[in-house]
Structures are given as C-alpha cells and as structure tokens.
C-alpha cells in the first residue's frame, strides 16, 4: 500500500469574551486572575459560568504566581508545540489563593527533582501579548515574585492558536493498485460483482458493501456530465481562478471523476467529449495529477440521455 505525509495547519483565532479576555490581559501584566463561584471557590484558569448555579462568573480575583504541585508526570520526549523542547514535568499546579489546579510544564531538568507537594513559580515569557503562552512554564522553588507590571487595562479580545496536524495518509489496496496503474499511464476500474457498476477509482462498492474485484480497463476519454466554473479565490488554492472543475464520466466507467477541463470556460458544456492530457511519461508517479487536465476532443457532444444517471 502507498502512504505519504499529510500536513495541515491553520492559525485559528479564539474570541475570548469578557472573562477569558480579562484573564489574558492579566497574564500580559504578570497577574493571574481566577473566577470566584457561588460556593466561594476560586477557579484558575477562570470558569466563565458557575458549574453549579450556571450563572455567569464575573468576580475575578488575583491569585499568586507561586503554587504547589498536586500531581505530576514526566515526559522525556517533548512534542512540537509543547511548552519546552527538553524533558520536563507535566504537573497539576494549584496556585496560592486558588482552589483548582491547572496543568502546566515544570522545567525541573531531571525527573528526580519532581515531587508531589513541591513548590513552583511561574516563569513569565519575556514578551507577553495577552496569550496563554505568556506563562512560559513553571520553575521549582518559591523564588521572589516578579512584581506585576502596571495594569494597562487594555482588554484582550482575540488570541491566535496555530494548530498543526501531521498524518501519514495510507491508501487502500484497491486505491494503491489504481495509483500504480496511473504511474504506468493506465486508468483502472473495478466492477462490483453485485450491481455490476464499474468504479474509478476502485473501492468497496458504497451501494452493496462488497469489494469490486474484476479489473476493467477504462479509457482516458470521457464525457463532461456536469461542472463548476470556480471564480472564487480561497486559502490553499492551487490554481488561479477562473478554472473549470468537471465531473468526467470516463468511457467504460459508471461513476464520474472530478478533474480540470482546460479550454475557454464559456465553452465547457454538459455532454462535451474530452480526453486526458498526460504529463510526460518520465514525470509519472502514483497520482491523478499525472493527468494535467482534460481537453475537448471536438467530437459531437454525447446525448444527455447517455449520462443523465451519472451526474
């Protein structure tokens, strides 16, 4: 089977609202704020709503930047995006004055310096912007607290949280066979033994739930069944609009594949006959991008009735 990396990422934004906005503004000024619930407990980080009465929590109180480790574990292999890039302790830390614990990293150096009940204090980021990352991590000991900077009072409304996901995408055996045929310049279909429909690319028949085993060669000529002219730009787009994405029913197949049709966008029409334009054979790999696009063949259009069930 074939596999390849799939990396996606986006800089998501978080609208903080009044409570978390004040919490983040506090971090910027080296202050930690918690919210007081109706039962008198101080929650750090602050809750926005009382878990018992469900009322909005608006009473924010400052707690200390020192605290106690309630429990912990150790990581020898930090992952990308975690607070530290060297081995560190993950700890549940209750700040002095708070009734709840927050999870954070303790830069203890070695595992044997971590213990339940140990005292820790915040190491502030040198450049604070009103973001949860303004707390860089915690350090062992109750060092002399760094005095808060002046309360600038400016609320924080948005926090950016970049998220990166890394996958290994693996194809099915059917799809791998299809892609390997593509690398040889062939289009491969497979017929469902129940409904006898030819699927391109091959897959377990979605209608009958059985593997499509009988291989059926499919021609690189086909019919545009329907299409969209994409005029709108968007993040991550690979072609400059306008361009045509068409559903193309390859000769011998029973389900269309989507691909590009090049030519005057105004001339593309339902029923138009098209043929694949392949990259040079030396560039072929296991991808449908071996076909750059489809081009009109100039043949008479296919009658609507011949493809109306494959739109």
């Amino acid at each position: 089977m074939l596999s390849a990396p799939l990396n996606i990422g986006f800089d998501y934004t978080r609208s903080l609202g009044p409570v978390l906005g004040r919490f983040m503004a506090g971090l910027r000024d080296r202050r930690v704020l918690g919210s007081r619930s109706a039962d008198g407990r101080i929650h750090v980080p602050p809750l926005e709503y009382d878990p018992a009465t469900h009322a909005p929590l608006t009473d924010l109180v400052e707690v200390a930047s020192t605290g106690t480790v309630l429990s912990w574990t150790w990581t020898d292999h930090p992952l990308e995006g975690q607070p530290l890039d060297r081995p560190f302790g993950w700890a549940l830390i209750r700040l002095d004055g708070a009734d709840t614990a927050m999870l954070h990293a303790v830069d203890a150096g070695t595992r044997d310096r971590m213990q339940t009940g140990m005292r820790v204090h915040i190491r502030w980021s040198p450049e604070r912007t009103g973001h949860i990352r303004d707390i860089e991590c915690f350090e062992p000991g109750s060092a002399a607290p760094v005095p808060p900077s002046a309360d600038t009072g400016e609320p924080v409304t948005i926090m950016t949280t970049p998220i990166r996901l890394s996958y290994t995408h693996t194809t099915s055996t059917d799809e791998s066979r299809y892609l390997r045929a593509l690398a040889e310049g062939r289009l491969l279909g497979q017929r469902c033994p129940v409904c006898h429909k030819v699927y391109v690319p091959p897959r377990v028949c979605p209608a009958d739930g059985v593997p499509t085993e009988e291989e059926v060669p499919v021609r690189d000529h086909g019919t545009v069944t329907t299409f969209c002219v994409v005029n709108v730009p968007f993040p991550g787009q690979r072609l400059d609009p306008p361009y045509v994405v068409a559903q193309i029913l390859l000769d011998g197949a029973d389900i269309p594949i989507p691909h590009f049709v090049i030519g005057d966008a105004g001339q593309v029409r339902m029923g138009m006959r098209v043929a694949a334009v392949w990259r040079p054979p030396e560039d072929w790999t296991t991808t449908p991008e071996n076909i750059v696009h489809f081009r009109p063949t100039g043949e008479p259009d296919a009658p609507y009735e011949s493809f109306e069930e494959h739109l």
């Binding site: 799939l6 009044p18 409904c195 329907t226 968007f234 072609l239 494959h310 739109l311």
Partner: protein, 386 residues
C-alpha cells in the same frame, strides 16, 4: 410518548461575534431558550450538543471544555455529528430521548464560530494521491445545481428569485445576519459569479451563531404556561456521499426521510397540509430542488412554486420566512435554526416574519455531500396518537 418544543433561543448571528467566547455564544442561545420555555436549570435532565466538523474551529471535541458552560455538569451530555445537518439531528436526538421516556426535559444546543477559522479552507484540503479539485461547498454543489437546471428546464432567474425572497424575509428577522430589504432581482443577477452557476448573492454568508431548544414530554408540555410546538414526527436518513448512479439532485435518502416523515405525521398532501417550511437552502437553487425532494412538488416542477411566488410570505407554502441559511449560516447551528423557526411559527412567536395562522410547520436540514437528512414536523395541537 408525545414530545413538544417548550422554548427556543438563538443568538444575533454575525460575521464575527468576537464579543463572546464559544461558551458565551452557546449560553446566549441557551439562556433565551430557557426563558422562552419558562423553565430553569433544575428542570433540565440532559444536554445534547451539535457541532459541525471539528476542523471548522480547530477544537477537538469542544463538548469537553463546554460541559460546564452548557450546563452538562451532573447531567448526561451527548454530542451529535452529522456535518451541516447536525443542528437538525441534534434536535431529533433530544426528541428521541424524550419520546423514549428517558428524560422529561432535554436541552439541545448547536453552534458555530466560523470567524475562528475558514470553512472554505477546511473543506478544500487536498489529501495525498488526489488532484487539487476541492473548492469548498460551492464548488461541490454547483455542478449539481447545473444538473438540476438542465434536468428541470428551470429558467435561469429562479435562483435569483429565491435569493431576493430570503434576503427580504431576513430583513424581518432581528436575529438574521444579512438583512437586505432593498435587494432586487437585478442586483442579485448583477452580483459576482462565484462558482458558476452560483452567484455571490445566491450564497449563504459565513456566520457566528448558536441555537437552542428545550424539548419536553407531555407532562412538561401540559405544565407549560406558554404555547408549545408539538412534535408530530421526526425522520433521519443517510446515504453514501458517492456511489454509481447517485442522484445528487434528488437524493434517495432525502426522499425516503420525507416519505417516512409525512407518513408518521399523518400528512398525505404536504403542500396542502403544511403551512410553512424552514428548509436548509445554503445556495438559492436548493429551494426548488428540496421542494421536489420533500414531496411538495413533482420532480422537475419545484421551480414553478418559486416562480409563481407560492414560497414567499403570503404564498401557499412560505419557505424560510426567517431568511433561512441564505441570511444566517452558523453551520453547526443552521439546521437547528430551521427546526426552531418551524416551532416558533406554530407557537405564534415568529414576530415580524410570522406566517399568519401557521399551525403545521416543517423543519429540514441536510449535510455532507447531500448525505445526511434530518427533519421534523411540528404543530400547534398535540398529535392524536404517536
């Protein structure tokens, strides 16, 4: 067992609700729904949350961090996933919990904070071994709209007629994101072509928003001092996104769900027996397509109801008097908004977009590649039997 909508609530939908967090957005809708239902938190037995795919906001399982804020601490919490139809499916799941006798009152809430991400990007990710053909929801649905136009021989201006109607309806709805009382057929037809044949003004906006409903059993409904919306029937059906011979214009799952819905509700002639419909129309052309799929019109004839004005306020079947998805599209909440708006109509609480004398209403949602369908019928009187 009978069930009824006791109350509904929704946010003011906007491009960016940066004044609230996700929790605050949900609570705005929830607090309004509880007030509308005349119930307090102690009377809520369970919470059901609906939310579109996690990639849309980049929060893995938002129900974890929202549990406190949406009142789920100490109660059962379920999350429902059915892409764009999720709001409707969420209301149906809550209804099932009540009709099964598991709970007396269930809070259902659905939300979307599109401003925190970019749904077009999220819907266009190119996995390895594929061609870069994704172009968002518009790129996906535009070819099927083209196929509908070809198959039904609908005149080209039908989509624009729907857009004008819905945007003007939205101007009557104080919660709607887009409120355009002065929009005209000419201005819609002059708007930019985005995904040919879909124009800018025929496309839903990208919205932040939430919706909530409180569903109660018969005892809860009878204890209510306010008018309730009795749930006469619910239906959901699913089909694969792609299969050879799939009818993207008139999907089988939608048609089968509608048949089951009308049968369960005892409705034999939907066009005659339903007073108002809130239908999931993210691109204007889906109004005639779904009118056919739902059985309000014969296949190929839905556009005639649009052209003759029968789906406008004052027509035989007003469709989307709230302005619908074309005016507000917080994706995860959009389906529940259709369901809530249907309930508001039969409760007589739809304000400026109230359909006079509405007694029976449809709420409808679809999601995925026309893959998930959910719907309910609500009435102002209790069903004779269930």
């Amino acid at each position: 067992m009978r069930a009824a909508v006791l109350g509904t609530g929704q946010t003011h939908h906007r491009t960016r609700r940066t004044d609230v967090s996700m929790a605050g957005l949900c609570r705005e809708a929830i607090d309004r729904a509880l007030a509308d239902a005349g119930v307090d938190w102690s009377q809520i037995d369970a919470v059901v949350l609906g939310k579109a795919p996690d990639l849309f906001e980049g929060v893995m399982m938002p129900e974890l961090f929202l549990a406190d804020a949406i009142g789920a601490a100490g109660r059962p919490l379920l999350r429902v996933h059915t892409a764009g139809s999720v709001g409707g499916a969420t209301a149906n799941v809550a209804t099932s919990l009540v009709r099964a006798g598991v709970h007396r009152r269930v809070l259902a809430v659905a939300f979307e904070k599109q401003s925190e991400s970019n749904a077009m990007w999220a819907l266009s990710i190119q996995p390895p071994f594929t061609a870069p053909i994704g172009a968002g929801a518009g790129g996906y649905f535009a070819p099927h709209i083209r196929a509908y136009i070809r198959r039904s021989h609908a005149p080209g201006h039908i989509g624009a007629l729907v857009a004008v109607k819905d945007r003007r309806n939205g101007a009557r709805n104080p919660y709607a994101h887009l409120r355009q009382p002065d929009i005209t057929l000419e201005s819609v037809q002059a708007s930019k072509m985005l995904w040919d044949p879909i124009r800018y003004d025929e496309t839903c906006p990208s919205s932040d928003g939430a919706c909530a409903v409180v569903i109660g059993d018969q005892a809860a409904a009878e204890a209510s001092t306010r008018k309730v919306a009795w749930i006469r029937a619910t239906a959901m059906r699913t089909e694969p996104t792609f299969f050879a011979g799939k009818d993207h214009v008139n999907p089988r799952a939608g048609a089968e769900a509608a048949r089951a819905l009308w049968q369960a509700a005892g409705i034999t002639d939907p066009l005659d027996q339903v007073d108002v419909a809130e239908i999931y129309v993210p691109f204007s052309w889906f109004e005639p397509m779904w009118l056919e799929n739902l059985g309000f019109a014969e296949a190929g004839h839905g556009w005639k109801l649009v052209e003759s004005g029968e789906t406008a306020l004052g027509g035989r079947l007003p469709v989307n008097p709230s302005g619908g998805v074309l005016c507000s599209n917080p994706i995860g909440a959009s389906g529940m908004l259709r369901f809530a708006e249907a309930a508001m109509q039969v409760m007589g609480r739809a304000g400026e977009h109230q359909v006079a004398g509405a007694r029976t209403a449809l709420g409808h949602a679809y999601g995925g590649g026309s893959q998930f369908f959910s719907m309910w019928v609500v009435s102002d009187t209790a069903p004779a039997s269930v």
